[in-house]
């Protein structure tokens, strides 16, 4: 077979015996069966697939599947290869190349594993763990959650200070003790650091379990407890003393399972304890005062003690002594109590009743410092007592008048309003205000010169009818009426009344506004209310709004389609303050008087659309096109520099205007600025003029043409001379 066979064809050809086509030595493997599920079965090499951890078919070797880098084991990417340090010099001159530093970073040489490692090392962590309140080190009980936040573990400032003074971890605090080394009975005595006595925490027993029984171990603490070093059976002994330790602290070391059975999970794998042993599972100390083997050679090894202080066993002898000789005991640090003190045997409890109640007050005892506020009123002649000024002021029954009398002052000449009130009015006031202690009403007559006349009082009542109105509003409305428009045009009398009302409110007059004939008081008041509203409505718009609007100079032109307004003609303004330009226009003095100039700033785009060089105030770019205007009208080149192009243009235009034939041929001959007008005569003059006008145009910036490249275009007169014909006339 010379032609190439496909693999399938090859396999089908050799199907029955083709189970192992490549086996050259040994016994052939059993036939490959597609359906047979056998994980360890033979898979032909060509069917084996190498995938990476994500199931991708990539060749890997070594540890996690070998070297895999870049894009399909190339140094490139999907888009091809480009060195990361390459910076296009055209775009940005490798200026950030320096910042990135030419050398490669370490990360570039790291694979995923290394990167993961690095990322892990960069995690933020506290330097040491945090211990909760009261929890010992390594004790899993208090770990986690908020307890971690409370206290920093490790060296506190006190520890540091102690270390400065020569203290070491694991030693007790105090002067050195001369003794023999522990376990060494005959050796010479050395100075030892005092024993590190544990702090005894005494907590109340709150449960009903037996003494020393600390409950059953939780499963999860098993591992912890088994992991402990076994020299703290000493500690277990000490538990006799501290039998009531809180459960958190007293984790029993051995698994105290219930007697019902042991689950698989409870099986610690240790053979020495029989879970099915009968009897109490509580591990009490069965020997009191029995000497136990000590693994450590005393406190000598205290350097090896881990940095954290754990409750350390107090010597058994001590405990024995405490148990036996009650009166003569040492303190928990192993020293005798101070002279004159005896260690208390009674348990120290916090909740016990106070043993030292405050002394009894003897019956019949009277304090000299009792408050005398109440007694002053009853007995003013008693011993002088303290009264605050506020209290004194409250107690005082004097009023200003009596005080003046007491002080011997001259009464002030002024009179109270109550002096003039009648008692009835005062009563009214008292009920209205709710104060009954108003000064008495004297019902006096008004002083001379102030007596209210009869007409006056009547007018007062009339004044009450006049509505209130701001002075400014009234003034503004009045001003508006003067300059422009005023309501009530249809009723001259009413308008007059309105004006007088405004004048009154603006403070220009003082008498009552007159009343129209046949108007009752009520109608008069109503009319004035209307006036007040009208003034509010028709006052001129102020401030910003006023600048936004203007009344038209005259009637706006109407369209032929507009509805007829009969009153439109009547709307002629009078008395309007004219500006001088309008005055001049009215007088027909057109010219400089009526003309004013305001700068404005056309946008560049608009100038472009008009094909006009932007004016200087737009900030035109002057790099090109200066030549176009340079030849204009024989004006000197220098002048062009000095004089603004636009003003020059205007000057030229004006000059041309005067040059224009005014009489004679008649009419204003168009200069032919636009669209080839002026061709009616077809004369040379028109053509020349047009050309002149064209040349007078300032340099135009054209997007389409570039004169510098194309050279000068021939004037239109030339074109007309060649191609022009008579049908061009307009």
């Amino acid at each position: 077979m010379s032609s190439k066979r496909s693999r399938a064809a090859f396999e089908t050809d050799h199907a029955p015996p083709a189970h192992a086509p490549y086996a050259l030595y040994g016994t052939p493997l059993p036939a490959y069966d597609l359906d047979a599920r056998d994980d360890g079965s033979y898979v032909p090499i060509w069917k084996q697939e190498v995938t990476d951890e994500r199931g991708r078919k990539r060749l890997h070797g070594a540890f996690t599947g070998g070297f895999s880098a870049g894009y399909f084991n190339t140094v490139g990417s999907k888009e091809g290869w480009a060195p990361s340090t390459f910076v296009s010099s055209r775009a940005n001159r490798a200026k950030d190349g320096k910042a990135q530093s030419q050398g490669q970073r370490v990360e570039e040489f790291m694979d995923e594993e290394d990167l993961a490692e690095q990322a892990e090392s960069q995690k933020l962590e506290t330097q040491g763990g945090f211990a909760g309140l009261g929890s010992g080190s390594g004790d899993g009980g208090g770990k986690g959650m908020f307890a971690d936040l409370f206290r920093a573990e490790g060296e506190t400032m006190g520890v540091k200070l102690l270390q400065r003074m020569g203290w070491r971890q694991g030693q007790g605090v105090g002067p050195r003790v001369k003794r023999r080394a522990q376990g060494d009975d005959k050796g010479e005595a050395h100075l030892f650091a005092p024993v590190n006595a544990p702090m005894i925490t005494i907590s109340r027993k709150t449960d009903h379990k037996g003494l020393g029984f600390a409950g059953e171990e939780k499963l999860e603490n098993e591992a912890l407890s088994t992991g402990r070093d076994d020299d703290d059976d000493d500690e277990r002994d000490a538990r006799i003393l501290q039998s009531n330790r809180s459960k958190v602290l007293t984790k029993p070391k051995k698994v105290k399972t219930s007697s019902l059975g042991v689950g698989v999970l409870n099986d610690t794998g240790s053979d020495d304890e029989d879970p099915y042993v009968m009897g109490p599972q509580i591990s009490y100390n069965r020997i009191i005062g029995g000497d136990k083997k000590k693994k450590k050679g005393g406190i000598m090894a205290s350097n090896a003690v881990p940095a954290v202080s754990r409750p350390v066993f107090t010597s058994k002898k001590l405990t024995q002594r405490t148990a036996t000789s009650a009166g003569f005991r040492k303190c928990h640090d192993g020293r005798l109590p101070l002279d004159g003190f005896v260690l208390s045997l009674a348990p120290l409890t916090i909740t016990e009743e106070n043993k030292h109640p405050p002394p009894e007050v003897p019956p019949g005892w009277q304090s000299t410092k009792t408050s005398t506020a109440g007694s002053t009123t009853t007995d003013p002649n008693s011993t002088p007592t303290f009264t605050s000024t506020a209290d004194a002021a409250k107690l005082s029954t004097l009023n200003p008048t009596s005080r003046t009398a007491l002080l011997g002052e001259q009464p002030l000449p002024g009179k109270s309003i109550f002096d003039y009130l009648s008692p009835a009015t005062r009563a009214k006031l008292a009920t209205a205000t709710g104060h009954s202690n108003l000064p008495p009403a004297r019902n006096e007559r008004a002083p001379a010169g102030f007596e209210a006349s009869e007409a006056d009082s009547k007018r007062r009542t009339l004044w009450d009818l006049v509505p209130a109105l701001d002075k400014e509003t009234a003034g503004a409305a009045l001003q508006r009426g003067k300059t422009g428009w005023m309501p009530y045009a249809e009723d001259e009398g009413k308008r007059e009344r309105y004006r007088s009302f405004l004048e009154l409110k603006a403070g220009l007059r003082a008498d009552l506004p007159e009343r129209a004939e046949g108007f009752g008081l009520e109608a008069w008041g109503r009319e004035m209310g209307e006036f007040a509203q009208a003034a509010e409505v028709f006052k001129p718009i102020s401030g910003l709004m006023a600048t936004r609007f203007t009344s038209s100079a005259s009637g706006a032109p109407r369209l032929a389609s507009d509805a007829i307004e009969p009153a439109a003609a009547a709307r002629v303004e009078r008395g309007r303050s004219e500006d001088p330009a309008e005055k001049a226009a009215k007088m027909g003095m057109f010219g400089p008087l009526t003309r004013s100039k305001v700068p404005f700033y056309p946008t560049r785009l608009l100038c472009k659309r008009f094909n006009v060089r932007p004016p200087a105030n737009v900030g035109a770019d002057r790099d090109e096109g200066g030549g176009g205007g340079a030849e204009g009208g024989g004006a000197g080149n220098k002048r062009l520099e000095v004089v603004n192009q636009a003003s020059l243009d205007r000057m030229m235009r004006e000059a041309n205007w005067e040059k224009r034939p005014v009489a004679g041929e008649g009419g204003f001959v168009s200069g032919g600025m636009e669209g080839g007008s002026g061709g009616d005569g077809g004369g040379e003059a028109g053509g020349k003029e047009e050309e002149l006008a064209r040349e007078r145009l300032p340099a135009e910036v054209s997007v389409d043409t570039n004169e510098a490249l194309e050279g000068r275009k021939a004037g239109e007169a030339v074109f007309r001379a060649i191609f022009g014909d008579s049908d061009e006339e307009e």
Binding site: S561, D562, K597, P615, N617
Partner: protein
């Protein structure tokens, strides 16, 4: 050689009367170039294209929702602009009778519209809202390129010549926005401006004001070159357009009483008083009173064909030409 534009040869014969509009006609515009066609914009919301010589209605353009107040034809006659009460400036395609662009932005009715710029790249419109807006036809944007808000009242008319845009306002002023110089020349006219027309050279403009006067002003100095008025010519109320004709040799304006007045520009004398109103001659002899139907609100001059048109409140368009 004698100039054909001499005022004496002013055509005074009404040879066509176009009566298809049902409402007052506000705007007239001859087509550019040869001026073969006449475009009329009316209060009846339609724009009509006529052949004035044959008085044939060619096309009706209807997209406006309000009356049409002004028209402008582009130089190449392919498009025209219209504006009116619906605050929108429409750009029409003449052939397809459809709007090509619609420019919105004015806050009031648009009183005047003109093409401007090189190749008619810009449309300038003046509005009742007191602004002049320049719309870019080349760009796709719908916003105005520039908005000029100098006018303190409604802008009633705009005119364009070269690099300058004139805007006449009801506040009695004509503002010339000179793009080259970057300044606005404000000419105070004293009365509300109703019409503006620029001379062919762009150095003067004809302005109608509501004090029954038409003035030819000099652009350079702001001086009044000529004042046109006449007893009988009354324009105090309506927007009446005026125009220069015969190569700026005559000034034409309608009046409120149904007459059209033609002045000689040089002398300022009234040359003709022509009755636009049907049967006006007889009535005028009787001294009949004039209503708003009689207003001749628009006139347009066709330089190429030496004819002109007038239109007014009666909705009729009269085309005037040589008698023969």
């Amino acid at each position: 050689m004698s100039r054909t534009t001499h005022p004496s040869s002013f055509p005074t014969t009404p040879f066509t009367r176009l009566t298809t509009h049902t409402a007052p006609v506000h705007a007239l515009a001859f087509s550019s170039g040869s001026g073969q066609y006449l475009l009329t914009g009316s209060q009846d919301r339609s724009i009509r294209l006529f052949n004035p010589t044959s008085s044939k209605l060619i096309q009706t353009y209807s997209a406006h929702g309000y009356g049409v107040l002004d028209l402008a034809v582009s130089t190449d006659n392919s498009r025209f602009a219209s504006a009116g009460g619906d605050k929108v400036v429409f750009i029409w395609d003449v052939a397809s009778a459809a709007t090509v662009r619609r420019f919105q932005g004015h806050a009031g009715r648009v009183n005047g519209v003109r093409f401007a710029g090189e190749g008619d790249a810009v449309v300038v419109s003046g509005s009742f809202d007191g602004t002049v807006r320049c719309w870019d036809l080349r760009a796709r944007g719908e916003r105005a390129v520039m908005v000029w808000g100098e006018a303190r009242d409604s802008v009633s008319c705009v005119a364009v010549a070269g690099g300058s845009v004139w805007a006449g306002s009801v506040d009695g002023r004509v503002r010339c926005y000179d793009l080259r110089a970057g300044e606005v020349e404000v000419d105070c006219l004293g009365a509300s401006v109703t019409s503006l027309g620029v001379t062919g050279a762009g150095d003067g403009y004809l302005v109608s004001t509501l004090d029954s006067k038409i003035r030819l002003m000099d652009c350079g100095s702001g001086a009044c070159l000529q004042k046109f008025g006449s007893e009988g010519f009354v324009n105090e109320e309506y927007r009446v357009r005026s125009t220069l004709g015969m190569g700026d040799a005559v000034a034409i304006s309608g009046g409120q009483d149904g007459r059209v007045f033609v002045w000689d520009v040089l002398s300022g004398e009234v040359m003709h008083r022509l009755w636009h109103k049907r049967g006006g001659e007889a009535e005028g002899a009787m001294g009949g009173n004039s209503g708003k139907r009689d207003v001749v609100s628009a006139v347009a001059w066709n330089q190429t064909r030496k004819m002109w048109a007038s239109a007014g409140g009666d909705g009729e368009v009269v085309v005037w030409g040589k008698g023969d």
